[in-house]
Protein backbone atom coordinates (compact mmCIF):
# COMPACT_ATOMS: atom_id res chain seq x y z
CA UNK A 1 0.00 0.00 0.00
CA UNK A 2 1.96 2.96 -1.26
CA UNK A 3 1.11 6.53 -0.38
CA UNK A 4 1.71 8.23 -3.72
CA UNK A 5 1.03 11.81 -2.88
CA UNK A 6 0.41 14.01 0.10
CA UNK A 7 -0.81 17.57 0.18
CA UNK A 8 -1.70 19.84 3.05
CA UNK A 9 -3.51 23.11 2.45
CA UNK A 10 -5.52 25.52 4.60
CA UNK A 11 -9.25 24.78 4.46
CA UNK A 12 -10.06 27.70 2.19
CA UNK A 13 -11.74 27.84 -1.22
CA UNK A 14 -8.70 29.32 -2.93
CA UNK A 15 -6.75 26.12 -2.24
CA UNK A 16 -9.21 23.72 -3.84
CA UNK A 17 -7.47 23.96 -7.20
CA UNK A 18 -4.26 22.57 -5.67
CA UNK A 19 -6.23 19.61 -4.38
CA UNK A 20 -7.78 19.07 -7.81
CA UNK A 21 -4.37 19.10 -9.45
CA UNK A 22 -3.04 16.40 -7.15
CA UNK A 23 -6.12 14.24 -7.73
CA UNK A 24 -5.92 14.71 -11.47
CA UNK A 25 -2.25 13.74 -11.66
CA UNK A 26 -2.67 10.74 -9.37
CA UNK A 27 -5.76 9.45 -11.16
CA UNK A 28 -4.08 9.82 -14.55
CA UNK A 29 -0.97 8.05 -13.30
CA UNK A 30 -3.15 5.24 -11.94
CA UNK A 31 -4.48 4.73 -15.45
CA UNK A 32 -8.07 5.93 -15.30
CA UNK A 33 -9.54 7.32 -18.51
CA UNK A 34 -10.25 11.00 -19.07
CA UNK A 35 -13.90 10.88 -18.01
CA UNK A 36 -13.15 8.97 -14.87
CA UNK A 37 -10.29 11.29 -13.92
CA UNK A 38 -12.62 14.25 -14.34
CA UNK A 39 -15.21 12.63 -12.08
CA UNK A 40 -12.66 11.74 -9.42
CA UNK A 41 -11.44 15.34 -9.39
CA UNK A 42 -15.03 16.47 -8.84
CA UNK A 43 -15.73 13.99 -6.06
CA UNK A 44 -12.63 14.83 -4.02
CA UNK A 45 -13.25 18.54 -4.62
CA UNK A 46 -16.79 18.18 -3.27
CA UNK A 47 -15.65 16.30 -0.19
CA UNK A 48 -13.08 19.02 0.54
CA UNK A 49 -15.67 21.73 -0.08
CA UNK A 50 -17.85 20.10 2.55
CA UNK A 51 -14.96 20.07 5.00
CA UNK A 52 -14.53 23.81 4.39
CA UNK A 53 -18.21 24.68 4.47
CA UNK A 54 -19.68 22.27 7.00
CA UNK A 55 -16.72 20.78 8.87
CA UNK A 56 -14.74 23.89 9.70
CA UNK A 57 -17.74 26.14 8.93
CA UNK A 58 -15.62 29.24 8.51
CA UNK A 59 -12.96 28.39 11.07
CA UNK A 60 -9.36 27.85 10.05
CA UNK A 61 -7.69 24.48 9.90
CA UNK A 62 -5.80 22.15 7.61
CA UNK A 63 -7.01 19.73 4.99
CA UNK A 64 -4.60 16.90 4.32
CA UNK A 65 -5.01 14.78 1.23
CA UNK A 66 -3.26 11.45 0.79
CA UNK A 67 -3.48 9.34 -2.32
CA UNK A 68 -3.00 5.63 -1.74
CA UNK A 69 -2.53 3.37 -4.74
CA UNK A 70 -3.74 -0.13 -4.01
CA UNK A 71 -3.54 -3.02 -6.46
CA UNK A 72 -7.28 -2.92 -7.18
CA UNK A 73 -8.23 0.64 -6.30
CA UNK A 74 -7.09 4.19 -5.83
CA UNK A 75 -7.93 5.69 -2.46
CA UNK A 76 -8.14 9.36 -1.53
CA UNK A 77 -7.87 10.02 2.18
CA UNK A 78 -9.05 13.40 3.39
CA UNK A 79 -8.04 14.35 6.90
CA UNK A 80 -9.38 17.33 8.78
CA UNK A 81 -9.29 18.63 12.33
CA UNK A 82 -12.88 19.82 12.35
CA UNK A 83 -15.53 18.53 14.75
CA UNK A 84 -16.14 14.78 14.37
CA UNK A 85 -18.83 14.05 11.76
CA UNK A 86 -20.99 10.95 11.58
CA UNK A 87 -21.48 9.40 8.16
CA UNK A 88 -25.24 9.74 8.55
CA UNK A 89 -24.86 13.49 9.03
CA UNK A 90 -24.33 13.69 5.28
CA UNK A 91 -27.75 14.62 4.01
CA UNK A 92 -28.05 14.04 0.28
CA UNK A 93 -31.10 15.83 -1.03
CA UNK A 94 -33.72 14.40 -3.31
CA UNK A 95 -32.64 15.45 -6.81
CA UNK A 96 -36.24 16.13 -7.78
CA UNK A 97 -36.46 18.85 -5.17
CA UNK A 98 -34.61 21.41 -7.27
CA UNK A 99 -32.85 24.06 -5.24
CA UNK A 100 -29.39 25.56 -5.00
CA UNK A 101 -27.04 23.31 -3.02
CA UNK A 102 -27.32 19.78 -1.79
CA UNK A 103 -25.49 18.16 -4.71
CA UNK A 104 -22.05 17.42 -3.32
CA UNK A 105 -22.91 14.26 -1.40
CA UNK A 106 -24.83 13.01 -4.39
CA UNK A 107 -21.81 13.55 -6.67
CA UNK A 108 -19.47 11.84 -4.22
CA UNK A 109 -21.68 8.75 -3.84
CA UNK A 110 -22.41 8.49 -7.54
CA UNK A 111 -18.76 8.72 -8.52
CA UNK A 112 -16.95 6.77 -5.81
CA UNK A 113 -17.21 3.03 -5.20
CA UNK A 114 -16.60 3.26 -1.47
CA UNK A 115 -17.05 6.15 0.93
CA UNK A 116 -16.31 5.81 4.63
CA UNK A 117 -14.95 7.45 7.73
CA UNK A 118 -11.82 5.77 9.10
CA UNK A 119 -10.44 6.13 12.62
CA UNK A 120 -7.97 8.96 13.10
CA UNK A 121 -4.76 8.18 14.96
CA UNK A 122 -5.61 10.55 17.82
CA UNK A 123 -9.42 10.34 17.81
CA UNK A 124 -9.83 13.93 16.75
CA UNK A 125 -11.11 15.36 13.52
CA UNK A 126 -12.10 13.13 10.63
CA UNK A 127 -10.49 10.87 8.09
CA UNK A 128 -12.65 10.30 5.04
CA UNK A 129 -11.75 7.53 2.62
CA UNK A 130 -12.94 7.68 -0.99
CA UNK A 131 -12.12 4.66 -3.13
CA UNK A 132 -12.46 3.97 -6.80
CA UNK A 133 -11.90 0.48 -8.10
CA UNK A 134 -10.25 -0.31 -11.36
CA UNK A 135 -12.65 -1.03 -14.16
CA UNK A 136 -13.94 -4.56 -13.70
CA UNK A 137 -13.27 -4.57 -9.97
CA UNK A 138 -16.15 -2.24 -9.16
CA UNK A 139 -18.17 -2.95 -6.06
CA UNK A 140 -20.92 -0.45 -5.65
CA UNK A 141 -21.83 0.71 -2.17
Amino acid sequence: MAVEQRLEVPAQPEHLHEIREVVQRAAEAYGFDKDCVRDLVLAVNEACMNVIQHGYAGRNGPIRLEVVSQPDAIEFRIRDEAAPVAMSAWKARDLNDIRPGGLGVHFIREIMDEVCYLPTPDNTGNLLSLKKYQIGQGMDV
Partner: protein, 109 residues
Protein backbone atom coordinates in the same frame (compact mmCIF):
# COMPACT_ATOMS: atom_id res chain seq x y z
CA UNK B 1 -12.63 31.75 -13.78
CA UNK B 2 -13.40 34.89 -15.70
CA UNK B 3 -16.92 36.29 -15.96
CA UNK B 4 -18.22 38.96 -18.28
CA UNK B 5 -21.53 40.25 -19.54
CA UNK B 6 -22.38 41.23 -23.12
CA UNK B 7 -25.70 42.48 -24.43
CA UNK B 8 -27.32 40.70 -27.40
CA UNK B 9 -30.59 42.43 -28.36
CA UNK B 10 -32.42 42.77 -25.02
CA UNK B 11 -30.61 39.71 -23.61
CA UNK B 12 -27.79 39.76 -21.10
CA UNK B 13 -25.23 37.07 -21.95
CA UNK B 14 -23.06 36.09 -19.02
CA UNK B 15 -19.91 34.34 -20.24
CA UNK B 16 -18.23 32.22 -17.62
CA UNK B 17 -14.95 30.60 -18.52
CA UNK B 18 -12.26 28.50 -16.87
CA UNK B 19 -12.78 26.78 -13.52
CA UNK B 20 -15.94 27.57 -11.58
CA UNK B 21 -15.44 26.40 -8.02
CA UNK B 22 -16.24 27.46 -4.48
CA UNK B 23 -13.62 30.18 -4.76
CA UNK B 24 -14.82 31.70 -8.02
CA UNK B 25 -18.51 30.87 -8.24
CA UNK B 26 -19.66 33.78 -6.01
CA UNK B 27 -18.47 36.18 -8.71
CA UNK B 28 -20.43 34.39 -11.46
CA UNK B 29 -23.45 34.13 -9.22
CA UNK B 30 -23.45 37.84 -8.49
CA UNK B 31 -23.29 38.69 -12.18
CA UNK B 32 -26.12 36.34 -13.12
CA UNK B 33 -28.38 37.56 -10.35
CA UNK B 34 -27.56 41.21 -11.11
CA UNK B 35 -28.70 40.81 -14.73
CA UNK B 36 -31.96 39.27 -13.60
CA UNK B 37 -32.50 41.90 -10.92
CA UNK B 38 -32.07 44.44 -13.72
CA UNK B 39 -35.04 42.76 -15.37
CA UNK B 40 -33.09 41.30 -18.28
CA UNK B 41 -33.65 37.91 -19.87
CA UNK B 42 -30.35 36.14 -19.32
CA UNK B 43 -28.26 33.53 -21.07
CA UNK B 44 -25.27 31.92 -19.41
CA UNK B 45 -22.57 30.91 -21.86
CA UNK B 46 -20.65 27.91 -20.55
CA UNK B 47 -18.72 27.10 -23.71
CA UNK B 48 -15.33 27.91 -22.17
CA UNK B 49 -15.94 26.24 -18.82
CA UNK B 50 -13.27 23.63 -18.11
CA UNK B 51 -14.56 22.72 -14.65
CA UNK B 52 -17.66 23.41 -12.57
CA UNK B 53 -18.46 22.09 -9.12
CA UNK B 54 -21.66 21.96 -7.11
CA UNK B 55 -21.29 25.55 -5.96
CA UNK B 56 -21.22 26.66 -9.61
CA UNK B 57 -24.24 24.53 -10.38
CA UNK B 58 -25.99 26.04 -7.35
CA UNK B 59 -25.45 29.52 -8.82
CA UNK B 60 -27.08 28.43 -12.07
CA UNK B 61 -30.04 26.97 -10.17
CA UNK B 62 -30.41 30.22 -8.27
CA UNK B 63 -30.48 32.14 -11.53
CA UNK B 64 -32.99 29.71 -12.98
CA UNK B 65 -35.27 30.14 -9.97
CA UNK B 66 -34.99 33.91 -9.80
CA UNK B 67 -35.75 34.14 -13.53
CA UNK B 68 -38.88 32.05 -13.07
CA UNK B 69 -39.97 34.25 -10.19
CA UNK B 70 -39.42 37.37 -12.27
CA UNK B 71 -40.91 35.73 -15.38
CA UNK B 72 -37.69 36.35 -17.30
CA UNK B 73 -36.18 34.08 -19.91
CA UNK B 74 -33.17 32.11 -18.65
CA UNK B 75 -31.09 29.51 -20.49
CA UNK B 76 -27.67 27.97 -20.72
CA UNK B 77 -25.86 28.17 -24.04
CA UNK B 78 -22.86 26.37 -25.55
CA UNK B 79 -22.52 24.10 -22.57
CA UNK B 80 -19.03 22.54 -22.61
CA UNK B 81 -18.60 18.79 -22.23
CA UNK B 82 -17.12 19.31 -18.76
CA UNK B 83 -20.10 21.36 -17.64
CA UNK B 84 -22.65 19.06 -19.25
CA UNK B 85 -21.19 16.09 -17.44
CA UNK B 86 -21.77 17.77 -14.09
CA UNK B 87 -25.29 18.90 -15.03
CA UNK B 88 -26.06 15.31 -15.95
CA UNK B 89 -24.74 14.03 -12.62
CA UNK B 90 -27.08 16.55 -10.98
CA UNK B 91 -29.99 15.45 -13.22
CA UNK B 92 -30.30 19.09 -14.27
CA UNK B 93 -29.56 18.63 -17.97
CA UNK B 94 -33.30 18.17 -18.53
CA UNK B 95 -34.27 20.99 -16.17
CA UNK B 96 -32.34 23.92 -17.61
CA UNK B 97 -33.21 25.10 -21.12
CA UNK B 98 -29.99 24.46 -23.06
CA UNK B 99 -29.13 25.86 -26.50
CA UNK B 100 -26.12 25.32 -28.75
CA UNK B 101 -25.22 29.02 -28.66
CA UNK B 102 -26.63 32.50 -28.18
CA UNK B 103 -27.88 32.70 -31.79
CA UNK B 104 -29.79 29.45 -31.44
CA UNK B 105 -31.65 30.89 -28.47
CA UNK B 106 -32.34 34.25 -30.07
CA UNK B 107 -33.58 32.59 -33.25
CA UNK B 108 -36.03 30.51 -31.21
CA UNK B 109 -37.57 33.47 -29.36
Amino acid sequence: MTAEVKMEQDYAVVCLSGEIDLHSSPQGRKLILACLHDGRPTLVDLSAVSYIDSSGVASLVEGFQLARERKLDFALVGVSAAALNVLKLARLDKVFPIYANVQARLAAV
